[in-house]
Amino acid sequence: MKVESRKSKAKSLRFIVGLLFFLVLTLLIAVLLGSEKLSFFDLNESQKIILFEIRLPRILLAASVGASLAVAGAGFQALLRNPLAEPYLLGISNGAALGTMFAFVFLGQFEFLRPALAFAGAVLATLAVYQMAKSRAGMNTERLVLSGVIVTTFLSSIIVLLTTLLDATKLRSFTFWLLGDLSQATPNSFYLAGITAIIGTLILTTTARSLNLMMIGERDALDFGVEVQKTRLIVFATASALVGISVASSGSVGYVGLVIPHIVRLIIGSDNRNVIPATAIVGAIFVVLADTIARTAIAPRELPVGAITALIGAPMFIYLLRKN
């Protein structure tokens, strides 16, 4: 028994190291591709700026956002014990978007408030979904999805209402951002998203054992000595922060939190101790690749990255649903 678990531990460690290797490879490919050809061994002044101030920050932001959204998805799925829980589908991204918009319109001069209010918006949206989905009989999939639909459409209508009431020229760039846009990455914008992604993944990984037990049943988890309330609060806050920060920096990039944890679970099973770190890496790979397509497919014009992730994500999701 013990030997076997050690074996599987080694196996999942190998898997994660392999994924990390893939991530590095993806980052390298993304750096090599772009609308401008760079002569890497002999960079001139403006090529240096293109590489270090435009391309690299954008790729790293893409990786951070991908990791954050995917891990947040895995966290919400474990917490709500539902494979369909996803920041985008539950309206949590919309909550963050509304928070950012609020900061943008009414507190425009304080740029640092955008991620803070995005986080607040994500928390409120999650609370709303949670309260609505909860019933005496527990939480079933239909209730959760329906609550998500209600929160999503309600928040969308407020966003539309605000864009109609406010000056159109002020919000033009905002509406584009809403669909997911990584082109506004700067060296500074990536730090916050990158650090949040790494710390968030680490925190969620430490709660993985408790989450495993909670997925069996909360009473069983209590019997095993898991502090259910505390775990719930940590996962809930961390996942909301991950969604809030990534939405504040790049809008709503959809489907990442849904598709990536699914794929990872299909490959390495549902033990959260492996699922969470692996999801972070695969999420980063996915969004970096999607954004590379967005940057290069019709260069020097650009595509919205959210459209690419949805285009890949939605069919993949249908396929996964059918296969299960």
Binding site: I49, I50, T169, P300
Partner: protein, 300 residues
């Protein structure tokens, strides 16, 4: 129970029938007086439109059409405009009927116009039928270049019966345009980047009238080879293009060049020119103002 249902269905159908009769009666007299003085014209989409020979009441659903109608001396015929319409000064006194994308059909009908001028084909499908039922003609016209604007002014002069004023105005605009062409004749063209939005970065492509405007003013848009009119543009390429001049279509979110231009010749030599977005982005007679401003700045 069943009997009762049949009875109520009978009453319902009878009422509907009577209502149909009434409404038929009601639309009849409306048609008669207008038929005699109608003429048929063809709009920019090739639709046949019946207009009164003398237009007394018109509604414009686009700010550039409002400017054009004023330019040909028919501004007093406008009874409704959009909330975007802010030029000339007199438009502020005209009733607003919503914005270009969401015009309020009830307000338009209440104004009883002879004709509604519409600039985008997408608008007409939604309410042409409704308006035409009320004997309100819908005329589609979408000038999209300086040349188009001149043709549009002539056409509007014809429709409103102000040909003379329109002709004179067009001749004047043509004189101003050719004066610029002579001025820049033979000079080396300057590399211009037109920035429509700072973040995300949007510019103009070859099919935009602004590309034509830059060329007429003695410049060359560095993004002219892109087909789309207003593309979202790669920052890497924008930086590599090294424009000598940056023109900002000045609006709330577009007051300074994007950070990627910080080492471009344009920023280093302080060749950043702002032109009011209303002037540079509306195909109206004020495009000639924009042309003069750009030519002036490019040839400093």
């Amino acid at each position: 129970m069943t009997k009762y249902n049949f009875k109520s269905i009978g009453i319902f159908l009878g009422t509907v029938f009577l209502l149909c009769l009434f409404s038929a009666c009601k639309t009849e007299p409306n048609n008669i007086p207008t038929i005699s003085n109608l003429r048929e014209v063809v709009d920019d989409l090739g639709r046949k439109v019946k207009l009164p020979t003398k237009i007394e009441r018109a509604v414009s659903l686009a700010p550039n059409l409002t400017e054009n109608i004023f330019a040909v001396g028919a501004g007093d015929k406008l009874t409704g405009v959009t909330t975007y319409c802010n030029y000339p000064e007199e438009t502020t006194k005209i009733q607003k009927i919503g914005d270009t994308m969401n015009p309020n059909i009830e307000s338009i009908i209440a104004l009883k116009p002879d004709v509604v001028f519409v600039s985008t084909a997408s608008q007409i499908e939604s309410f042409t039928n409704q308006l035409e039922k009320q004997n309100i003609a819908v005329y589609v016209t979408n000038p999209n270049s300086l040349t188009d604007v001149l043709a549009n002014l002539k056409k509007l002069g014809e429709l409103f019966g102000t040909q003379e004023k329109a002709e004179k105005f067009v001749v004047d605009l043509e004189k101003r345009t050719s004066a610029i062409e002579q001025k820049i004749n033979g000079k080396k063209s300057v590399k211009v980047f037109v920035q429509i939005s700072k973040e995300p970065l949007f510019t103009v492509g070859g099919s935009s009238f602004m590309t034509d405007l830059i060329k007429r003013a003695g410049g060359e848009s560095v993004t002219a080879n892109i087909k789309e009119a207003y593309p979202k543009f790669s920052k890497e390429t924008a930086l590599a293009l090294q424009p000598e001049v940056i023109i900002l279509s000045e609006s709330e979110d577009n007051k300074e060049p994007n950070d990627v231009f910080k080492d471009s010749p344009a920023v280093k030599n302080n060749k950043i020119f702002k032109i009011n977005a209303d002037i540079i982005s509306r195909p109206s007679p004020r495009l000639v103002d924009a042309l003069e401003q750009i030519a002036d700045k490019l040839n400093q």
